[in-house]
């Protein structure tokens, strides 16, 4: 088989730009723009609360807010503790990436990048990770230290045939 078959086309720069939207944990991919907690709260109440509840709790779908004491991480053994952004998510960049690509559930793609910064800021605020006065942009979002980050470890099962 030759190195290359010469099948397929070089994509237009427009196509790559339109689709190249994934955000990486170091912040690569984050767009220009900015959004603040207070704007985020307004958008959240309008567009998200119906599914995720007041202040990110008690909605029909995923619980988004809630912290636990620093040394509490009961998710393996006990039930009744929802995993939230504040107590379980390892990276803040995931929040921007996921909201922009997937939310609101029925009309993803309707939020502007500023809206997404604002919603990310508000949800981080609800999780006690940002003050009410905070704003976020491409520089500041990746800086946020997520409480659960240190807990994430790569898969270690395949090193052995024992059950892990």
């Amino acid at each position: 088989m030759p190195e290359k078959l010469g099948i397929g086309f070089v994509p237009s720069p427009e196509l790559v730009k339109a689709w190249d939207t994934a955000i990486q944990p170091d912040g690569r991919g984050l767009p220009p723009g900015k959004g603040c907690v207070t704007d985020g709260q307004r958008i959240y109440v309008e567009q998200c609360q119906v599914c995720h509840g007041i202040s990110g709790k008690g909605g029909q779908y995923d619980v988004l807010a809630g912290r636990l004491a620093e040394n509490l991480f009961p998710f393996a053994a006990e039930s009744g503790h929802p995993k939230t952004i504040g107590n379980y998510w390892p990276w803040a960049t995931t929040l921007f990436d996921y909201i922009r690509r997937s939310m609101p559930l029925l009309t993803p793609g309707t939020l502007s990048d500023n809206d997404v910064y604002a919603l990310s800021a508000y949800l981080l605020h609800l999780n006690e990770l940002l003050p009410e006065s905070a704003c976020l942009d491409a520089a500041s979002l990746p800086q946020i230290e997520m409480p659960a980050n240190k807990r994430f470890v790569p898969d270690n099962r395949l090193e052995t045939s024992a059950v892990r």
Partner: protein, 392 residues
């Protein structure tokens, strides 16, 4: 059913004595050939739809045979429903840390060497009902999120060679074109191994709910890695830490850590017959079920009818393939006494399927919302009724 049989004979059922006038035995021709066949109207075997968004459907394991799941009964898990994609408009973009980004149409992909493989797909959440279900629970409910097809398409490695992955390229992002643009990260080592860009499922085009027209197939790995409606692959030097590999599909462990990228599905088996809601008669039966391992091949399956005190080697149907489901069977005479039936699989790496208690002790019960590969037990009552027996 002896009674039913004698009745059927007595009332005729199309059968008459072969006498001099056999006019009662008239047989009429049926419809002739058709363009695209359908199953019998008497076959009512269906997926069960579940989830608060109806975002899942479960394969009726207890009603199926062999190792191929009919495409119409392949389990589903959607994050934003099933998109409608016109094949002539669909494109696959490969870009990022590559020498030359490329976009491929379906027509382009058909020109590459075709690769096919039979392998299972299993949702990481297959087994999540184990510890919440009562005794009136079917194999479909307990284990309906695994199915198997022959997938055909292009080796991802062929396409990666075409674009030229840069030295720094160590991870790959796969993105679907469903409404939520679902994404997952895949290590480059794995991407260059046995990953397929599938355009066909069991011979014909991939089904809409399975990713029509293109699905990424990562054999042995949890369902959501096998990105449906695939439109984009981006090469990078680190994982993207998408929501589906951080907030979801990760495993909190008892030591306070969270196991991430645990996408290889451990070995699992389940008895699909006899199982709830069957009632069996005394005498010989085949205990049958499914076994698989994302780590490799099924090496053997053992069945116990006494709650694990003794184990009997089951027969495996052939062929037994890598990262592929196999149907197992054990001929078994039921003596009318209460029995606890269980199966466990051992794979080609030596990994043995754990009991519920064993895996709960290692990982914690709440951790097993994902990646629960524990054994399943069925209780055969002395009246022949079979019930699910929780063992946690």
């Amino acid at each position: 059913s002896r009674r039913r049989f004698l009745q059927a004979t007595a009332t005729g059922a199309g059968v008459v004595l072969a006498g001099q006038k056999a006019t009662a035995d008239v047989r009429r021709v049926g419809p002739w050939a058709s363009q695209y066949g359908e199953r019998s109207p008497f076959d009512k075997v269906n997926r069960t739809i579940s989830g608060n968004l109806q975002h899942e459907s479960e394969t009726p394991q207890q009603a199926l045979s062999g190792m191929i799941t009919p495409s119409s009964l392949h389990y589903e898990r959607h994050h934003a429903g099933v998109p409608t994609i016109r094949p002539e408009e669909h494109k696959l973009l490969i870009h990022g840390m590559v020498e030359e980004p490329k976009v491929f149409t379906l027509h382009d992909l058909l020109r590459f060497p075709q690769a096919s493989r039979i392998c299972f797909l299993e949702c990481a959440g297959n087994g999540k009902h184990h510890f919440k279900s009562d005794e009136k629970t079917t194999p479909q409910r307990l284990c309906g999120l695994i199915s198997q097809s022959e997938w055909s398409g292009v080796s991802l490695s062929s396409l990666l060679r075409e674009v030229g992955v840069k030295k720094s390229g160590s991870w790959l992002l796969a993105e679907g074109s469903d409404a939520c643009l679902l994404t997952r990260s895949i290590p480059m080592e794995r991407a260059l191994d046995d990953v397929l860009i599938a355009y066909a499922q069991n011979g014909e085009a991939v089904r809409p709910e399975q990713g029509y027209p293109l699905r990424l197939i990562v054999p042995g790995c949890e369902g959501s890695m096998n990105v449906k409606w695939l439109r984009r692959l981006e090469v990078s030097d680190q994982p993207f830490m998408t929501r589906e590999e951080t907030a979801k599909y990760s495993d909190p462990l008892k030591d306070g850590t969270v196991r991430q990228f645990s996408f290889v599905m451990d070995a699992k088996s389940i008895i699909t017959q006899p199982a709830y809601p069957l009632q069996i008669e005394k005498g010989w039966h085949e205990i049958r079920g499914l076994a698989w391992s994302g780590r490799g091949q099924v090496a053997g399956v053992e069945v116990s009818d006494d709650n694990g005190s003794s184990w009997h080697q089951a027969q495996l149907q052939s062929p037994v393939l890598d990262k592929s489901c196999v149907r197992f069977g054990l001929l078994w005479k039921w003596d009318g006494k209460e029995r606890l039936l269980t199966s466990r699989v051992i794979d080609s790496t030596g990994y043995t399927q754990p009991s519920a208690r064993e895996l709960i002790a290692i990982r914690g019960k709440q951790s097993l919302r994902y990646h629960n590969n524990t054994m399943t037990t069925w209780r055969v009552q002395s009246d022949g009724q079979v019930f699910y027996q929780r063992m946690d």
